[in-house]
């Protein structure tokens, strides 16, 4: 029974990993992966020894950490709130509306947010009616990162909430009934039944999202940034894009390999930590 799955992973996931040798080659399409001359660590040198790289790495970590720190809890809160709703049509409507932005591309969303947050845009017009001076949402580094993180959460919150809502249905109803008989209120039920029930899913999703720490959201940033925030939002992906002059597979593979290796280490590390803290029960493996 394992065979079809194993064959699938072998052909489509493990065999292509052989392509990683391109990271150590001066790849020429006409000569193939094997025929291309070896480049040693030149591709990695091109990637790391540029003085813009440390800044790109730092920005990537800052933005991704913010996304992880704030964005991780947002869907949990939304799922918990939705779970408390008793009016079904309202719950479903909210769920659909929050899920919807997940399907929009950042090319479109970027244009909308640029308009919404511009100096003379609707957001600042609303603030102005309260007597607040225009806020440079798009042109000051910290504000721009705030916009990135908040709009990023807004876009993906519904998708995350669906997963938690599914996990919530798996919690036994008897537990709630027993707790209610014992006199536990809503808050106590949430704290002692719902949250512990969600913990395994939370840990799995956390471990997986930690692996994405070096991907700070290229689509979103590339469609929204501008010269005034290049310095604070130049991430590894935008940096690599600038380095590439089309089809320079060696450097692109080296960058991808770097991100994958770091991601793998983070996943292994987080998993080990989860095991240690929970006595070997909550890790992925």
């Amino acid at each position: 029974m394992l065979l079809p799955g194993a064959v699938y992973f072998l052909i489509f996931h493990f065999l292509p990993m052989g392509g990683l040798v391109v990271a150590f080659k001066d790849y020429r399409m006409t000569e193939g992966i094997v025929g291309s001359p070896w480049a040693g660590l030149d591709n990695f040198r091109d990637l790391f020894l540029n003085e813009q790289f440390p800044n790109a790495l730092r920005n990537t970590l800052v933005i991704a950490a913010l996304r992880l720190g704030l964005g991780f809890f947002a869907p949990i809160i939304l799922a918990l709130l939705l779970n408390e709703l008793r009016v079904r049509w309202f719950k479903r409507t909210v769920q659909t509306i929050t899920y919807l932005p997940f399907f929009f591309s950042w090319v479109i969303l970027g244009g909308i947010f640029l308009m919404l947050f511009s100096t003379t845009g609707p957001m600042n017009s609303i603030l102005a009616t309260f007597g607040i001076d225009p806020i440079p949402f798009l042109t000051s580094g910290p504000w721009f990162i705030t916009v990135l993180v908040v709009t990023g959460i807004w876009q993906s919150i519904g998708y995350g909430a669906v997963i938690y809502l599914a996990a919530l249905t798996g919690i036994e109803v008897q537990l709630y009934e027993a707790a209610a008989i014992d006199g536990a209120g809503r808050w106590k039920q949430t704290r002692h039944i719902t949250l512990p029930g969600l913990t395994p899913v939370m840990i799995v999703l956390f471990i997986l999202s930690v692996g994405q720490l070096l991907s700070a959201g290229f689509d979103q940033i590339y469609n929204m940034y501008n010269p005034l925030v290049f310095e604070s939002t130049d991430i590894i992906d935008t940096y690599v894009l600038r380095q590439l002059q089309g089809l320079d597979f060696g450097v692109a593979t080296a960058a991808g390999m770097f991100k994958s290796v770091v991601g793998l280490m983070l996943i292994i590390g987080t998993n080990a930590l989860a095991n240690r803290l929970s006595g070997g029960e909550q890790g992925l493996w």
Binding site: F14, L15, M17, G18, G19, V21, R28, M29, T30, E31, G32, I33, V34, G35, D46, N50, E51, Q52, G111, L114, M115, S118, T119, T120, G121, P134, L138, T139, N226, P227, L228, F230, E231, D234, R242, Q243, Q245, G246, L247, D248, I268, A272, N275, G280, W285
Partner: protein, 556 residues
């Protein structure tokens, strides 16, 4: 905890995978043959063009032309060749489909690489046949002379590692700048009768647009202009041009190649823009605006009264729903637009960036064509003949008079311009039948991918268009990068985009007053340190080499 047995078996798997790839060794001989071809070891001077021999060619250009269409048969019969057209829809799919096709080993005999960046990439990967300039000069003298006359910088775009790989296509319209346009009714409302000609007049108009309520709504909610910092080719191009600089480009000053962005004149222009921003003549959103989107919308919705990158004959066509005038009228029916001129600066200079006539996609040959030099020569001679035979040139683009096209206004005849006859008046039908979607007499067409001297086709264009261009988009106002575009200098490709970003950030901070004007000096130092100094040396070296090549070909 880590499962070491799992890790070991996984790494064992990777070793197996690498070994698998190692076994799949490509054919050694073909690799060497291609390597030889790359070095260009064809004795071109001994290659003869025998018109009786039929040559079969796989032909890949931008378009949707079907096989066996009229323009294809025209050149097949006349030049005794047989084409297998493999057209690729232009635009984004060209950038994704062609590389995949090439990587799969399916290299067309004659094709269009898309753009100069991709030409270099394909040359680096060994897909292209070197085309020595001496050979081009021998077999396509008209086309070489055309390039040398209108766009000598185009040779920079077809050269990789000191070897020429392409035959540039001349796109005459690229010599004409997209000049500014003004809100005519706003100018009248604030008491200005003549479109601004100088920087001072421009400043005065922009100031009145800001302060004198040009839309008469009683609120101070209008600005003079905006700007686009992300697309460097439009960034306040007319203001920098008034000081004689191309801020994002290589220029030649006193025989030396310089980068426009670090010149003292650029600092002067920045000082002026800084003042304009401080006086609120420039919209506060200019940093995030883009010329084709937000700036256009600001103009059409009456937030600003000036756009620096719109003027073309088409922009003022009220019948075309996509024209600037039509878009504007949809939101503001009473609005009127008028083309302006690049403003004259303190030293009497004016100008705007143009891409030049050599920025269109060149013609290249697959590296395997080294085995068929006669076919290469046939194609080059064919293209040269099309470019030097007016009737043939027109026929390859719009077909025969009376059969495919007629004068747009038959009562006027020539002067009203050639217009396709039904069913070719439908763009989709035209493309399928191997003609261009638009009546573009300049530049490439699917089966005749070269340009020609404008004198050959200008009589077939609407005279109103030709006159508009001569009056409002004068060639002498165009400022050209001496290499066509910043990345065309060999060796700067990995640093140039970073340097451009550095400059965009510095410009934004200086104009917005976030940094003092003296910050320009800091930027210049930083620019040199981050690769600009090396870039200047490379550019100077490249300039010397290009000059030598052009002199050898007898170009002025």
């Amino acid at each position: 905890m880590l499962n070491w047995r799992y890790m070991i078996s996984a790494s064992g798997m990777i070793v197996v995978v690498v070994a698998y790839f190692a076994v799949m060794t490509p054919d050694r001989e073909s690799v060497e043959a291609r390597a030889l071809a790359r070095q260009g070891q064809v004795e071109w001077s001994t290659v003869k063009n025998d018109p009786l021999v039929t040559h079969d060619l796989v032909w890949s250009f931008a378009g949707k032309a079907e096989s066996g269409v009229w323009p294809q048969r025209l050149i097949e019969e006349r030049f005794n060749i047989r084409l297998t057209p493999r057209m690729i829809v232009s635009g984004e799919s060209y950038q994704t489909k062609l590389p995949m096709q090439l990587a799969a080993g399916d290299v067309p005999d004659v094709f269009n690489p898309g753009n100069s960046t991709m030409l270099r990439v394909y040359a680096r990967h060994g897909f292209l046949l070197p085309l020595p300039l001496s050979m081009l000069n021998e077999h396509a003298p008209h086309l070489v002379a055309l390039v040398n006359r209108y766009a000598p910088e185009a040779w920079s775009a077809t050269t990789y590692d000191g070897v020429n790989y392409g035959l540039p296509t001349i796109w005459y319209d690229g010599l004409h700048p997209r000049t500014p346009i003004w809100r005519k009714d706003w100018l009248e409302n604030v008491g200005i009768e003549r479109t601004p000609e100088t920087l001072e007049e421009m400043e005065e108009a922009l100031r009145r647009f800001r302060n004198d309520d040009p839309d008469g709504n009683g609120r101070r909610d209008t600005y003079g202009m905006s700007g686009d910092l992300m697309n460097y080719y439009t960034t306040f191009s007319e203001v920098f041009g008034a000081y004689g600089v191309l801020p994002f480009g290589w220029m030649v000053v006193d025989g030396q190649v310089v980068w426009g962005g670090v010149l003292p004149e650029t600092r002067e222009a920045l000082a002026l823009l800084r003042r304009w921003y401080d006086q609120e003549l420039i919209h506060p959103d200019f940093v995030t605006d883009r010329w084709y989107a937000e700036i256009g919308r600001k103009l059409y919705s009456g937030r600003i009264g000036y756009h620096n990158y719109l003027a073309s004959y088409e922009a003022f066509d009220p019948d075309n729903p996509q024209s600037a005038l039509a878009m504007m009228r949809r939101l503001q029916p009473e609005a009127e637009l008028i083309p302006g001129v690049p403003p004259r600066g303190p030293a009497g200079r004016r100008g705007m960036r143009v891409w030049g006539a050599g920025n269109a996609a060149p013609v290249v040959f697959g590296a395997h064509m080294a085995d068929r030099p006669e076919a290469v020569v046939r194609v080059l001679r064919m293209l040269d003949e099309i470019a030097s035979d007016t009737d043939l040139y027109i026929e390859t683009r719009v077909g025969r008079h009376g059969q495919h096209w007629d004068w747009a206004d038959t009562s006027i005849g020539p002067g009203s311009g050639a217009a396709f006859m039904p069913p070719l008046d439908q763009a989709m039908v035209r493309e399928r039948e191997g003609f261009n979607a638009e009546i573009m007499l300049a530049g490439a067409s699917p089966f005749a991918p070269i340009g020609a001297d404008p004198d050959r086709y200008l009589p077939y264009m609407p005279q109103a268009l030709v006159e508009f261009r001569e009056r409002n988009r004068k060639i002498q106002w165009g400022l050209r990068d001496v290499f066509g575009s910043p990345g065309n200098v060999p060796g700067v490709q990995s640093s140039i985009n970073g340097l451009i970003q550095l400059q965009q950030t510095a410009f934004a901070k200086i104009i917005r007053g976030e940094e003092p004007l003296d910050y320009f000096n800091t930027f210049v130092e930083e620019w040199h340190r981050q690769g600009g100094a090396v870039g200047l040396e490379l550019a100077q070296d490249h300039w010397r080499k290009q000059r030598r090549v052009l002199e050898e070909m007898g170009s002025p």
